[in-house]
Structure formats: C-alpha cells, structure tokens
C-alpha cells in the first residue's frame, strides 16, 4: 500500500513539478550547515548623502541604541517606524518624511491590520516607505505574498 502511494504521488507530480527546476542551467551548490537567525539586525552605519541625512541617522542610531533595542520588538511592521522615518527622509526630505512618519505611526496604532499588508518572512507586516512618496510609481505587492526584506 505504501508503494502504491509513492507511485501515485510520483506519477501525479512528476511531469509538472520537477521540470521547472531545470528551466535555468545550474551548477554545483555550496552546502552550508549553519543555522540563520530570524532576528532583526540594525544598520548602525552613518552613511549619508548630505548633512541633513547624517543628523537624522545620528538621532535614529541614538534612539535605537538607548531606547529601541531595550524596550523589545514592539513594531508589527518592517521596516520599523523609526527605520521607516530614516528611509522616508532619505527618499524625500525632512518635512515630507515627517508627515510620512506620522501617518505610519497612526496606521501602527490601528489594531485591525490583518489582510491589509503583505507579510515578511519573520511574520511582520511589510510596509516600505517607497509606497508613500507620492511619486506615482507604486510597486504594489498583494497581501498574500511573502516578501524578503533586509
């Protein structure tokens, strides 16, 4: 009976499921035994295009180091609200970035988020600042997709 199931599964899946792996030529893969962690790793560097971004990054780093890294992982979003602010200022300017941040903070306080945002691998909601720049170029990700962030 066990062999019947094996044969059934193999016949059912064989032509469709396994041929798509080979639609690109591949070579030997490097094996990696190590285990990856799912924790967030902050980007503490000060790389900035201008003085304004540097100041924002400085305060963000200080906030992360003295407060955010100590009060737990409270933000359901990725990037977190503070990281969102840094990204928003980088992509636009300090004023527009601040407005984007306050809008994000309001959305964060809304407890009914399920079904509105796509999920990231760690289970957080994926909500990048690029969606809110009002540039008109929105790369929409459907809610049921799992994205890779970082």
């Amino acid at each position: 009976m066990k062999y019947f199931y094996i044969i059934f599964v193999l016949l059912f899946f064989s032509t469709n499921l396994f041929s798509q792996t080979d639609w690109e030529k591949w070579g030997k893969a490097e094996t990696d035994y190590t285990i990856k962690d799912n924790y967030r790793h902050r980007n503490y560097n000060f790389n900035s295009d201008n003085a304004g971004n540097f100041v924002v990054k400085f305060f963000a780093n200080a906030y992360w180091f003295f407060v955010s890294d100590l009060d737990g992982d409270n933000c359901p979003f990725r990037p977190s609200c503070s990281a969102f602010f840094v990204e928003a200022v980088k992509e636009t300017n300090i004023f527009q970035g601040t407005l984007m941040f306050f809008d994000r903070f309001t959305r964060d306080t809304n407890v009914f988020k399920e079904g509105k945002y796509p999920r990231e691998k760690s289970g957080h909601y994926y909500d990048p600042s690029s969606l809110y720049t009002l540039s008109g170029k929105i790369y929409y990700i459907p809610v049921n997709e799992i994205t890779a962030w970082e």
Partner: protein, 288 residues
C-alpha cells in the same frame, strides 16, 4: 558424392553459425552504446557538470528500453540534483531508484540517501520518521548502527545536541561525534534561566550571556521608571503612576525579558554554528 554432401552441409551450418555469431555481436554492440552513454554521463557527473550529466542520464534512460541502467541512472540523477542543491528533485529520483532497486543493500542505501537529503533540506522530522520506520523493520536489524548514526545527524541539524549525543552514544560511548555533541550542549546557555534571572532582576539575564552594556541599560531604565512610578503613587498622583508604570516601566521590563531570551538564543546559535562549521569543513567522517 558423400564428401560433396558433407561439404554442403558444413557450409550451410557455418552460414547459420555466422548469422548467430553476428546477431550476438549486434546485441552486444547495442549494450556497448548504452554502456558508452552511461560512462559518458558518469564522466560528466565526476567532473561536477551536473546539469549536463542529468541530460545524458535522461538520454540513456530514454533509449534503455530494457531498463538495464534505470536504477543506477536514477541514483546518479538524484546525486546530481543533491549536489546542485535541488533537494526536492533529489528525493524524487532517489525514490524512483529505490522502486527499481533489485536487492536489499541497494534499497537500504537509497533510503539512507533520502534521509540525508531530508537532513540537508532541514526537514529533519521527515528524516527522523524515515529512520524510525527503518528501525522498526526486521530486515534492517544489522544496520542499526548506521540508523543511529543518521539519527544523530538529524538531531544535529535540528539543533538538538543532547539527543544527538544520545544517538551517537548507542554506537560507542566515546564516539567522536558524541563527544562533540556533548561539548556543544554543555557550552550552551539556558534560555529559561536567562529569562528567569531577568524576571527577578532586570538586566541580569543579559549579564549571564555576557551582554553587559545592554543589561546595565535595561537595569537603568527599569530602575528609573520604577522610581518615577512609585514616586507618583506615593504623591497620590495615581493616574501619572499608572501611565508611567504601563507605558514606560512595563515596556522596558518586557523588553528586558525579550532581550534576555534573544541574547541567549543568539549565543546558542553561535555555539551551534561553530560546531556545524567544524562538521562541514573539518570532520572526516560521512556527512549528509
């Protein structure tokens, strides 16, 4: 006259012999072509040109109508997929090879290959289930050592070093991998202990795992907001006291517990990964 008759008979007999011999020759030539094809595909496999090796094995299978090479070619296709990191395909072809295997030794070898791919794919539950099934079957009682060996590896990849040590100890009390697993397990931090320490004294769990700065900051924040909150209650500013206690003190206290757990888990991962790196790069025995 008799000589002529005999001579004619001899010629006709030789004729049939010639046809017979040439026929045998033809059949052996066909087998030669398939053998050539198998050798060519095997050469590509040995040269680590896995994609093309699979193509040539598939060509062999297509023309091998008698299925002489079916099991061996399926096995090598599976090995190619395994070496290319395509584990689902590897399991598929190992299963096919197992179905066409002709003797118990081959069947066992292929079942173990499926276990090994499951280990690499980190579907260790599947691997352990398959090994449990093998252990229960009476025909594999002489292979119990190998079954325990791969159980140990499954537990290693599942990051359960104590159970891995237990499995390896069944092979031998001073088995190399058993000692490694025990050492890894002993070096690990207790996540539960870290959390309990931080529950009683904020920051102490972080001190336990060597994150002194984080522990000190957690202690400082909890102490500060605790003082402010208590002070508010003492001065009968109940609302202020509740607000500070809930939004500040409790937030940092909960964060302190999360960090105690997170740092212990991260440190344990580091310890596990050191052992895994050793096994990957320096261990000379059989690996998944």
């Amino acid at each position: 006259m008799i000589r002529i008759i005999l001579w004619k008979e001899m010629i006709s007999l030789n004729k049939y012999l010639l046809i017979f011999v040439l026929l045998i020759g033809n059949i052996s030539f066909a087998q030669d072509y398939l053998k050539q094809q198998f050798d060519f595909a095997k050469k590509l496999f040995d040269e680590e040109d896995y994609y093309d090796a699979i193509t040539e094995f598939k060509r062999l299978q297509f023309f091998d109508t008698s299925n002489v090479y079916i099991s061996s070619s399926d096995e090598l296709i599976a090995q190619s997929y395994k070496n290319g990191g395509k584990y689902s395909d590897a399991i598929h072809y190992f299963t096919l090879a197992e179905l066409n295997a002709t003797n118990n030794d081959d069947i066992f070898k292929l079942k173990i290959e499926i276990v090994r791919v499951n280990i690499l794919r980190r579907t260790t539950d599947n691997a352990l289930q398959l090994l449990d099934d093998l252990e229960k079957e009476k025909r594999w009682t002489d292979k119990i050592g190998e079954i325990n060996y791969w159980k140990g590896w499954s537990y290693i990849f599942a990051d359960e070093w104590d159970k891995a040590a237990e499995e390896f100890s069944k092979i031998s009390p001073d088995y190399e991998l058993k000692l490694l697993c025990e050492k890894t397990n002993e070096e690990k931090y207790s996540v539960t202990l870290a959390k309990i320490m931080s529950a009683f004294l904020p920051g102490s769990g972080q001190f336990y795992t060597g994150n002194y700065l984080s522990g000190f900051l957690s202690l400082g924040w909890c102490a500060l907001w605790g003082y402010v909150s208590v002070n508010a209650f003492v001065e009968q500013r109940v609302f202020d006291g509740l607000a500070v206690a809930n939004f500040l003190w409790f937030r940092f206290y909960r964060g302190n517990l999360e960090n105690a757990e997170k740092f212990a888990v991260e440190k344990n991962l580091q310890i596990s990964n050191e052992s895994l790196k050793f096994l990957q790069d320096d261990y000379k025995g059989e690996k998944p």
